[in-house]
Point group: C2
Chain length 430, copies 2
């Protein structure tokens, strides 16, 4: 396929995955002497930090999805293929996909992560994950369907089950989702479902560890907990989930909750690829890499972002699976590819933690900077500003900005649409 | 269920359908002495005139779908139910739905219309209709999937089949869709799919009658034809479709076209309801009504909009199935209900044709006013202005406006997203 590139002698780089890591690397290699194939199973980049806003009707999917072809359109040495990768053939140095084989000189695995149900198949079948746009749209439909169900249900007990929303996992996704749901309870129910007593709606956030937002400072965790509890969310710490049968959620402490809706944001695992040596698979289904993001035991295969596990003194089990790590690894790897081409030595990766943040609701956010932390309305503005900047493409920034401005002044989540009704797998199968 | 209304003695009106007719009637009855149930299978109103822009990536679905609960939120005497109507029980004066029975004093059927395949099951299975938002999103996915397929296809013949888009039916939907596809060919292919020769893409518009836009003036039909042919669309008049097997479309004249994509906009039929006297079912699966929109032979059942067929001197087979007729019938019926309540005589319906219009592409539209017609860029601005005004809700107007402005300056259709890949029924079944 190399004839499509202008310089047929340039090294072939195949990047698997157009997330934060893969897309950043493509940008770095743009206009350099490389022929690059960017592969992704979707034709768009997903801005994952705002998925929860799609799930709760604050943003439409086209505000946070960006066509990958549009990004790489102006990059003459990069070709995009919408492809589902089946495996890597290390012997032939090829990536096998559903649309053909892609030979490589260098392979970069940037396949990211997916929801981890820790082997619990019933939970996987019956709870709702939130790692992709279709999943976010499914949650939006499902929540609204539950409101509709509760409305025509006669029994108060059943209504409560319809309106009990349990979010498992107190990381940023769980916290942000719980906050958004609390705002729906406060602002949407009384106008949209005036026959419903909104006090029948209950939001629970269940976290196995001792605090929310474990990656942030204890002060910020405490602040997030306070915000959520003030907003009426029932937050349970040190509480693990045991099982869910579609009707009843059982906790490890024996307590049972009757609910139709369990949203699972309690863990992620790397999207490991077939064809690698099993010895490279480490904790969290990630791929072990050295300080140059080179896969253990390989010379021409690299992994970056969530799927890569680089053991350092500070992070013995690999860096946090967040966008800034992915982007910094991609930037360094891009530079290292150029150094390699010039016969220069590679630079090793060092993560610059610029801080982290989470939003809980209107005027409620927490921000940890390296030397400084703050919360409240200013943190909320900073959170919005940083996310607007991080979005890919001016159109998406504009769409998110217009929608946020609308939501701010109207106090609503305007996209209360059930475009494709969601049925749980069990209901579809039966 | 009447205890939810403030005035339990007010007459019960059940409106089936939240389209242009049903929604307009609900607005008319708002704050009047009626208890109204508005039923729809979706929880949103669809602005059908812009469906083709969703199908071609110019607008997101949330720009043209408007939550019905939001419209009726401020109307104290109106209750919305998301319900699938099963049938009418005339004896009990009840509407039977999947969420319960709704008793009525007056029933208004505003169920609209759906795609008419005229009994051709293979066409129904294999071609794509465009009457709902999920259908529009399916077309968007499918077109983009065909581009992706063509890109990795080796054979030029196969590429041509992937890139041959056949639109059947030269009414407004077919014309507007063909124009939008021609603009995609002109503006999107070279940047997004630079490895594809865009001349391999062909757009065909097939119309059984002697001219496009048969409801407009012959001059406007002529202008639309000229615009489309200048844009490279192959328009065939007086050409009927015989069959389609998923690979090859056969025309009545014996000609065959190899294509993956047949978009069917060649006819609509009324959404007739079970439980009515069969004698009321007339041409086009519509319900025969008198000059007050009262269903033939009934005292308390009315039908308005596309599904209603009122025979007049000018329209012996019923009025055109367009939004202005639906809205005018709804307005009159709303007034007539109030007259009925006051013991006054009913007024009969008289359609005021304010004109019609269609857009073909950038700066290309045709407008027929009762005494006057024009075309070109001014017609295009008028078309946009009228559609912005007609949209329900300020947020949707804002979203459409921002997206149109974006598309105008960028020459692109920004929402080139395959969120849910589409598989034809045949592929799903096998």
């Amino acid at each position: 396929m190399s004839d499509k590139f202008k310089d047929p002698t340039a090294p072939l780089v195949v990047i698997i995955g157009g997330g934060f890591a893969g897309l950043e690397l493509a940008k770095k290699l743009s206009h350099k002497r490389f022929r690059v194939y960017l592969l992704d199973k979707h034709n768009y980049h997903t801005f994952q930090p705002l998925l929860y806003q799609v799930a709760t009707g604050g943003l439409g999917s086209d505000a946070i999805a960006y066509p990958l072809r549009k990004v790489i359109g102006p990059m003459p040495n990069i070709v995009f293929r919408m492809a589902q990768v089946e495996r890597i053939d290390k012997a032939k140095k090829e990536v096998i996909t559903d649309v053909g084989h892609f030979p490589y000189d260098y392979l970069v695995i940037a396949t990211g992560s997916n929801t981890n149900f820790f082997g619990n198949q019933r939970l996987e079948q019956l709870s709702m994950p939130l790692k992709s746009i279709p999943e976010a749209l499914d949650i939006r439909s499902y929540i609204l369907q539950e409101f509709e169900k509760a409305l025509v249900e006669q029994s108060v007990t059943e209504k409560q089950r319809n309106l009990k929303f349990v979010i498992v996992g107190g990381g940023p996704t769980g916290v942000e989702l719980a906050g958004a749901m609390a705002e729906i309870k406060r602002n949407v129910i009384s106008s949209d479902y005036r026959e419903l007593d909104k006090e029948l709606m209950n939001i629970h956030l269940i976290e196995a560890g001792p605090r929310l937002l474990a990656a942030m400072t204890p002060k910020s965790s405490e602040a997030a907990l306070g915000f959520l509890r003030n907003m009426g969310v029932d937050v349970r710490l040190n509480t693990a989930v045991k099982s869910y049968d579609g009707v009843e959620l059982e906790l490890e402490n024996g307590e049972k909750m009757k609910t139709d809706t369990v949203i699972w944001s309690a863990g992620v695992k790397g999207n490991y690829l077939d064809g690698l040596d099993e010895a490279t698979r480490v904790r969290g289904n990630r791929i072990q890499v050295d300080e140059y993001n080179k896969v253990k035991g390989e010379e021409s295969i690299f992994a970056i972002g969530d799927v890569a596990s680089m053991s350092t003194e500070q992070f013995p089990n690999g860096h946090p699976m967040v966008a800034p790590v992915a982007m910094q690894q991609a930037q360094l790897l891009g530079d290292n590819f150029v150094r390699l081409q010039k016969g220069q030595g590679l630079k090793s990766f060092r993560y610059t933690d610029k801080g982290s943040m989470a939003t809980i609701g209107r005027n409620k956010a927490v921000v940890d900077l390296p030397w400084f932390r703050f919360k409240g309305w200013f943190a909320w503005y900073v959170w919005m500003f940083v996310h607007l900047i991080m979005l890919v493409g001016f159109r998406n920034r504009l769409m998110v900005f217009v929608n946020w401005a609308w939501n701010y002044f109207s106090y609503e989540r305007a996209i209360r649409l059930i475009i494709r009704p969601f049925k749980r797998k069990e209901e579809v199968d039966s």
